[in-house]
């Protein structure tokens, strides 16, 4: 960026613009989901979410009243009513499908035999005729209207109460929290042993942990499911907690060991000299000092378990009561792909918690990534 003085400002501009475009490109998809979750079904089906900030034009028709609705007004027979939906502004109207925008608001159309139709600015129409109307079915009035941008929170209300998402949210919570807490404890002790205790096989074990980091989950699915069935666990929360604990341990041990190795040797040595037991050293010195690494792993594991679909599908089952949010989303995508408003809202709720955690704890997440970027889900 340190060019010659004259080039500098134009280069800075170019960098700013390029960076902005890149950020925009990466943000737009999520923004689209967010905006869509506040639109109702018709809006989603009729226009793209990016058009939702400007007024949208729609063309449709309504039927006028029938002969039964007519009233007499002096010499004229009159049918009156409203041609536009509530809250929409009339742009143009017409009487034939071939030319649905023939007239401006306020103009009067000649229907023949002295009959007229006019639609006012506010969308009310007035149909008059010197003879009584005889039709049993209303005439069509074609209207082009403009609806102001409108957003609704109705989707959220519906999804949270009626669509089983509340239940799925609880299920996901139930899976995630124990599956995040338990591996931390087990890994912390193991990491301490690997980092600060002398024993034969230490290097081998450390290497094994690094190796196990990349074992594909797919390999573990069938054997573990059978194992769980044989020892009577079957499909259920206990099984999925144990599975996530097992799958999360290599990363936990790896991250924590790397961090603990870097703690100052003098502190630990002097504690040993003072007669502290290993257990005391671990609890009083290592655990508090390792807080950043513990937090990093906790976030990783939380995000990973919350977002997981595969392990939940295999170890928890797929009935409506058992589904976690990712599973529910998948089902919504498959069976009810047309109900966009439900899909968008459910998806946004399911990613809201990880996003909150992400933005609140980004510092620790980045630190953890830098400390051990080997795991791959």
């Amino acid at each position: 960026m340190e060019g010659m003085a004259g080039q500098k400002s134009s280069l800075t501009w170019a960098v700013n613009i390029a960076a902005f475009l890149l950020v925009l490109l990466w943000t737009i998809p999520t923004l689209g989901l967010f905006v869509s979750s506040f639109r109702d079904r018709d809006q989603i089906a009729q226009s793209g979410w990016w058009q939702s900030f400007s007024a949208s034009e729609q063309t449709g028709f309504v039927r006028s009243g029938t002969a039964a609705d007519q009233v007499q007004d002096g010499p004229l027979y009159v049918i009156e009513g409203q041609a536009t939906p509530e809250g929409q502004r009339l742009i143009a109207w017409g009487t034939s499908p071939r030319n649905p925008a023939q007239y401006r608001p306020g103009e009067t159309a000649d229907l023949g035999d002295g009959a007229t139709l006019s639609v006012a600015e506010d969308g009310s129409y007035r149909m008059t005729s010197p003879q009584p109307f005889e039709m049993t079915r209303g005439d069509r009035i074609f209207v082009t209207t403009s609806a102001p941008p409108s957003f609704t929170t109705q989707n959220y209300r519906r999804v949270l109460t009626a669509e089983g998402l509340g239940r799925a949210f609880m299920n996901t919570m139930t899976v995630t929290i124990p599956a995040t807490v338990i591996p931390i404890l087990i890994a912390a002790f193991a990491a301490y042993a690997l980092a600060w205790m002398q024993f034969p096989g230490r290097a081998l074990l450390t290497a094994a942990v690094v190796g196990l980091l990349v074992v594909p989950l797919q390999v573990a699915l069938i054997p573990l499911l059978r194992l769980h069935n044989e020892i009577g666990l079957g499909k259920g929360y206990l099984g999925i907690w144990l599975a996530h604990t097992g799958f999360g341990l290599p990363l936990a041990i790896y991250l924590l060991r790397n961090y603990m190795v870097g703690l100052p040797r003098e502190v630990i040595e002097s504690a040993r000299v003072d007669g502290a037991t290993e257990f005391q050293i671990f609890r009083r010195i290592i655990l508090p000092l390792s807080f950043p690494a513990l937090a990093s792993f906790a976030i990783f594991q939380f995000l990973w378990v919350w977002n997981d679909l595969l392990v939940a599908t295999v170890f928890l089952g797929n009935t409506r009561e058992q589904l976690v949010m990712t599973g529910l989303l998948r089902e919504l995508m498959g069976s009810r792909g047309g109900e966009w408003e439900i899909l968008a809202t459910s998806a946004f709720i399911s990613i809201a918690v990880p996003l909150l955690v992400f933005f609140a704890m980004q510092k620790y997440l980045v630190r953890g990534l830098l400390a051990g970027s080997v795991k791959g889900g």
Partner: protein, 330 residues
């Protein structure tokens, strides 16, 4: 509510159980070999030999049961028929070799392997360099990093709103088709175009992984010694030359780490394909194919064989990681 209490009690039991094990076993060890009395020195030595295994015990148990045993068991199952009742030798593997869908999955996985790590690293590097000295750089970084927190399924829904197709003439509600029609093109059903649809799925993963690459590479770029850059500028190097000739070569090691990490993610890619196309229209990948055979066709033999193929593909990276980790320890 019941569920809530179940979760809470599990946390309490789990945490309490762990603490009880670590504390209790230590206590027992200290009783058996007390660190005082006539044999204090001998006792301490013996206790110190045993203690690491108490600390490691639960972890080793879990790792063995949930990762080591399954690899062996999967291999063993892959040599058996669908329900594991009959030993069939390498029959599942020879079947794989002749299976068209398996070949399609392999080809797709290789395509994913070529494209996703390359583009994620490239965009990550670009993002890291561009946002590095901007005032709003950290906000920009957060936003590019954000998709990492989103589940693959959520990302599938998000990108559905990009790829959605409506017949020509109707209002397009998918962003991509809207852009295409605005430019005068015909709307496409992106996820069914043979050959190209895989790329539209890959874009989703690239979108997720770029943030990861950016974070790591950004830290590496900041770690480059200033003198090397200043020297190059004094010698009249242009900003582009500084970037490609001075900076990139110095962070090659980090680029390799990022590349291999994303490679592992890619090898195991499942959710994106599972929810967006389910392997139809020629987009099948190994992980999803494995799921199909294991849990839809209920053929543990063939499913395990595919899982073992995945395992074999990961192995070189595993060896490389172990090699590097040991080098660091020394």
């Amino acid at each position: 509510m019941e569920l809530f209490w179940l979760a809470i009690s599990t946390i309490v039991i789990g945490v309490f159980g762990c603490v009880a094990w670590f504390w209790g076993s230590n206590w027992v060890l200290d009783r058996i070999y007390p660190a005082r009395g006539p044999q204090a020195g001998d006792n301490i030595r013996k206790a110190n030999q045993i203690r690491p295994w108490l600390f490691l015990g639960p972890a080793i148990l879990f790792l063995t049961m949930y990762l080591v045993y399954p690899v062996i068991d999967s291999f063993w199952r892959s040599l058996h028929n669908a329900n594991g009742s009959r030993f069939v030798g390498a029959a599942n593997y020879t079947w794989l070799a002749g299976d068209a869908k398996f070949r399609e999955s392999m080809v797709n996985n290789m395509l994913w392997l070529l494209v996703v790590p390359a583009l994620s690293t490239l965009f990550g590097l670009l993002a890291a360099q561009l946002t590095d000295r901007l005032k709003w750089g950290n906000i920009g970084k957060s936003l590019i990093f954000m998709p990492m927190a989103i589940s693959f399924v959520g990302a599938g829904v998000i990108w559905k709103f990009i790829y959605e197709y409506r017949a020509s003439g109707e209002p397009q509600i998918g962003l991509l088709n809207w852009i295409v029609t605005q430019l005068g093109g015909e709307p496409q059903i992106w996820l069914t175009i043979p050959g190209w649809n895989s790329f539209f799925l890959m874009i989703v993963l690239i979108w997720i992984q770029t943030g990861f690459a950016m974070v790591i590479l950004s830290a590496a770029l900041r770690g480059i010694p200033e003198e090397t850059i200043e020297a190059a500028i004094l010698d009249g190097a242009s900003p582009l030359q500084v970037f490609f000739r001075i900076k990139v070569p110095q962070i090659m090691g980090t680029i390799a780490v990022v590349w291999t990490t994303i490679t592992i993610v890619v090898l195991k890619v499942f959710d994106i394909v599972f929810v967006m196309t389910n392997g139809q229209w020629g987009t099948q990948v190994l992980a999803n194919y494995m799921y199909d055979w294991s849990f839809r066709a209920n053929d543990a033999g063939r499913g395990s064989a595919i899982a073992i193929v995945l395992m074999l593909l990961v192995t070189p990276i595993m060896v490389w990681n172990i090699y590097n980790a040991r080098k660091e320890v020394r």
